[in-house]
């Protein structure tokens, strides 16, 4: 499999462990997020931005100063991974490959029909067979998906939660909640793959290499109606380049993601606080990445409380309320209470 094109991280939202992504498909899913994300992600962000800007405009007017332009610092979108299998769905780009191969054979058949010249058709047919034989190598699937399945101690209640993000400074963090038995996305981001039969792959790929070389030698120096041969190759090249650039949705990579919610705020700390409120420990998992330096005294206290809150909630069996929120203690406010001169409100919790 090719190397990831977009440098990104996978962060476990429970253990807070972070790893550099080595999976090409996970990097593609993040890269192509603007193609497959739910329209609500943009709508909620735009509404929040308008709300923040209106507040800022009002405040600036009261304080008789110029209004600052507000922005959304971080957007966390939450997705429920309904299925993660080792088979992608067939989309346009998948089936188009068969059509291109058919057109190539038709082009190659023209010299045969016009001048009884079979060589170009023969080369194209053998090249097509070799290309499909190379793609049939089972190791491709193993390199793409050959990792363990998600294993949860409480499959009915629990889900494995991982963040997919480019890290500190990025605008997007995708929180994916996986079910028991589906593909383990954290393992997928690792560099290792379980290969069943590397010896057979070696022999098979060497055999294919010899056959490709034989084709190359056969074609070398051929000088009859070469535009047809070039046309076949160029069509394949254009198709392959188009396949590379094509932006695909997660089902094409075997992941069926259902949109859950979008969490946006004006500052990263506010977003993490909101994430922590809704998904205990998930906000803390992003804290190390997005705030690698010192925190403010109140923030230190809040995240210390959040850790204890998560441990209590986990010990009680990760109970959820009927509205889908965690049955855990309330998180203290990020801002000091009005009129308060210290952070006693957190210490008293």
């Amino acid at each position: 499999m090719p190397k990831p094109e977009l440098a990104c991280l996978i962060i476990n939202a429970r253990t807070c462990h972070k790893r550099t992504n080595n999976s090409w498909i996970l990097s593609r899913i993040l890269r192509d997020f603007d193609v497959w994300r739910h329209p609500d992600c943009d709508r909620i962000e735009a509404e929040k931005l308008a709300e923040l800007q209106a507040k800022e405009d009002l405040l600036a007017k009261e304080q008789k100063r110029a209004a600052r332009t507000k922005r959304i610092a971080l957007r966390v979108t939450v997705w429920d991974c309904k299925a993660a299998s080792e088979r992608g769905t067939g989309d346009l780009v998948y089936w188009a490959g068969l059509c291109v191969s058919a057109v190539q054979l038709i082009i190659a058949a023209i010299p045969w029909a016009l001048w009884d010249e079979r060589f170009i058709f023969l080369v194209t047919a053998i090249g097509t067979v070799l290309a499909y034989a190379s793609g049939a190598l089972p190791q491709w699937v193993e390199e793409k998906f050959g990792v363990r399945k998600t294993c949860l101690s409480n499959p009915k209640k629990d889900k494995k939660a991982v963040f997919l993000t480019e890290g500190n400074g990025s605008h997007e963090a995708i929180l994916i909640l996986s079910h028991h038995g589906s593909l383990d996305l954290e393992a997928l981001a690792g560099p290792q793959r379980a290969l069943k039969n590397p010896g057979a792959t070696r022999i098979y790929s060497m055999l294919l290499a010899i056959l490709w070389l034989a084709l190359l030698i056969s074609v070398a120096g051929y000088d009859q109606h070469t535009w047809f041969l070039l046309g076949v190759g160029l069509l394949g090249l254009v198709h392959n380049a188009a396949v590379c650039a094509f932006r695909r949705r997660p089902p094409a990579f075997g992941l069926e993601l259902e949109y859950q919610q979008t969490i946006v705020e004006g500052s990263v700390m506010e977003v993490l606080h909101k994430v922590e409120t809704k998904f205990p420990q998930a906000g803390a998992a992003l804290l190390d990445e997005f705030f690698s330096g010192d925190l403010r005294p109140r923030e230190e206290l809040i995240w210390g409380f959040a850790r204890q809150r998560y441990e209590d909630w986990y010990r009680d069996g990760c109970l959820m309320r009927s509205d889908g929120t965690p049955d855990a203690r309330e998180m203290p406010s990020l801002q000091r209470l009005v009129g308060a001169s210290d952070d006693a409100d957190i210490l008293s919790l």
């Binding site: 070799l130 499909y132 793609g135 590397p198 084709l215 074609v219 041969l229 190759g233 590379c244």
Partner: protein, 70 residues
């Protein structure tokens, strides 16, 4: 008796009418494109079917793969 060398115009005309010795070179370049296309299309809905069309770059791609796994 030596044949007189062709002019640049004649040579270009001949090469663009019927290109020579180019296919061999083209079959070698573009291995990365084939690799990414394989990454996109492998493990699709039909087992063992990866519809990546025959193109330039396959020879290099196959040799890179063989070297990586040998």
């Amino acid at each position: 008796m030596e044949s007189s060398p062709r002019s640049t115009g004649e040579w270009l005309r001949a090469q663009w009418t019927n290109p020579n010795d180019i296919f061999t070179i083209l079959l070698i370049i573009g291995g990365e494109v084939v690799q990414v296309a394989m990454g996109q299309l492998c493990a699709g809905p039909v087992p063992f079917l990866t519809p990546v069309a025959f193109s330039f770059g396959w020879v290099l791609r196959t040799y890179s793969y063989t070297l990586k796994h040998s």
